[in-house]
Amino acid sequence: MKKLPLLLLALVTFSVIAQNDLPKVDMTTLDGQPINSNDLSIDDNVVVISLWATWCVPCIKELDAISEIYPDWQAETNVKLYAVSIDDSRGVKRVKPMVNGKGWDYTVLLDTNNDFKRAVGAATVPLTLLVKNNQIVYRHSGYSPGAEMELYEKIKEFSAAN
């Protein structure tokens, strides 16, 4: 227990100097090609990174809900959504048929070893990040019906702020 206060102090210190950089982690595309998280947001356009899993009902509801209005979002703000599946080997084979079966137009990435999940500290999914110039500018965990509208307000807010 003696170490605890010291660690908490270190924690506070670290969180003050936290830079909100998007951690640099390797993932793969649905076709098995490697891609690094730092290649997702390279300019002023806002990028949505949504961590989800095939077994996570709220995650699927969120991605289904966004899917309905995604073309409008893209037309208005140039936003791009990356859906990062944290499925392990139990569910990862379901990702491709599910994404196709649902007709999602997102770029889907696989984080099978959960390196990205750990790096962004996602204890639970869904976790939605807004990233701009490789900086995490907004994050929201969980999904409730209608939360996609609030997310879109944030996307517009950060898209406008140049």
């Binding site: 951690p23 098995g32 392990d88 139990r90 491709k96 196709n100 649902k102 500290g121 209608g146």
Partner: protein, 554 residues
Amino acid sequence: MKKLILGAFMFMGAVSFSQDNGYFFGGLESNSQWLMPDEKIGFDAPDDRFRSNNYVQFNYSLGKFTAGIQYETYLPTALLGYSPTWDNQNGIGTYYLNFKNETLDITGGYFYEQFGNGLILRTWEDRQLGINNAMKGLRVKFTPTANIGITGVYGQIRNGFDVSEGVMQGLDANADLSGLLNIDAVELSLGASYVGRYQSNGGNDSIPANINAYGGRLDFVANNFYGGIEAITKDPDVIVTEEVVSSPQLFDGTALQVNLGYAQKGLGINSTFRRLENFSFYADRYQEGNVYNEQIVNYVPALTKQHDYLLSNIYVYNAQPRLLFSDSEKKRAGEVGGQVDVYYSFDKESFLGKVGTKLAGNFSYWAGLEATFNSEEQTYDTKFIGDGPRYFRDLNIEVKNRWSSKWSSIATFQDVIIDKGVTEGGPLGEQGDIRAQIAVIEGTRKFEGGKALRMELQHLWIDKRRKNVDDKNWAAGVLEYNLNSAFTLYAADAWNYEGEGEIHYYSFGGGYTKGPARFALNYGRQRGGLICVGGVCRFVPTNTGLTANLVVTF
């Protein structure tokens, strides 16, 4: 080692103040419960009523280096149902130092790794299950070109705040054949793995000190089709039942997994076949089959659909990879089975498409390997598939609709058959099975300003013509109200109205999310049974209490 990494951590922290080009990331998770005695469900709260699991993780990245440390406390004791290994412990659970450039990725300390599908090696953390089998040692990943990758690991498996006696080593190689051979028509990748364990046999030559496993795999994507195969063989090893060697013979193990799928816009199909024979792998031979999955080094999930509703989570499957050979128990050699998933969205122009109809169906069937055992000679023969006892069968379909911008619904129906031994323990394939049909209707109404109301109605019918009727019929309901996207309240009840005592497993609570923080509070009764995450399960006894969860990421 620990001091070295801590030192490196401090150094990098100091450097970052001057250069300001490093960044910090991490998180905090706290899960606590206050147990309360509840006569109605026969729960006599233990003396340690307050229990709390806490994790603080921080990482620092500077240039090509990243270092991290995770501090954990299980004080005064770990949550109910977790391994006693954790009780009253606290300390630094994991730490690492990583260097990464274009071709090399080197990690010293604790790391999480998976080879192929994880059947031969997977180290991972699951806080809900109390699993953390991170490997402590050294990992080197070498990627000389974009088409070739090699990973080598060496170390011991984390066990509580200690590590395994057994020492693991492994090598994994991946090659992108299409890239190497310039093939465009088909995406082909090849992989090969080796994992070995050394554990002293204490001078007993009848026990092998070294156990090696070898595997190969091939994956392809061709137009809309995709698939893969992985096969693994493991050296003959002793079989252990409850920490005792239970046969003078040594037995080898095998695993085979085949996957085939088809995906086009609006339609996706996936099918998986898997056969496991005497295929459990632990860093300590005497820990084989322990109920807390401690020191496990591979990942053998139940390949079934992971359900998310109260009543569809009563009868869940758990993979049965083990060979059991002692006279005192029902003999068995492993499992074989498969599953098929289908996803379909109706075209937006069609009638069903106008109301946003989306279908998802799943069928799975798992059986014990058909085998004949010769107790005198301590040998057995199995068929490749055969007609072994059925352990589990699940057929389920889900229909999602979006009726308007305000109303949406989900209807699901499930027909499940499970062997009594799988769900309640005891020998498999001889106690009879349980069949249940479960229907769930869920409706969501969205209001202005981010408000929404969600309702679930569920019913479970037991097939009463069978010998086992378990707790008979259940009815359940859930009501959830979102005041806005940050604040949620819910009340739920699963009523076992035909079971003994006609118990209501009620619960209510709420959650609040603010940026990177999430806090949830629940009060209620927890039905005893298997809690499964990713197809790996942990048994939780029936209990009543208050739970609080806090997650902060930064």
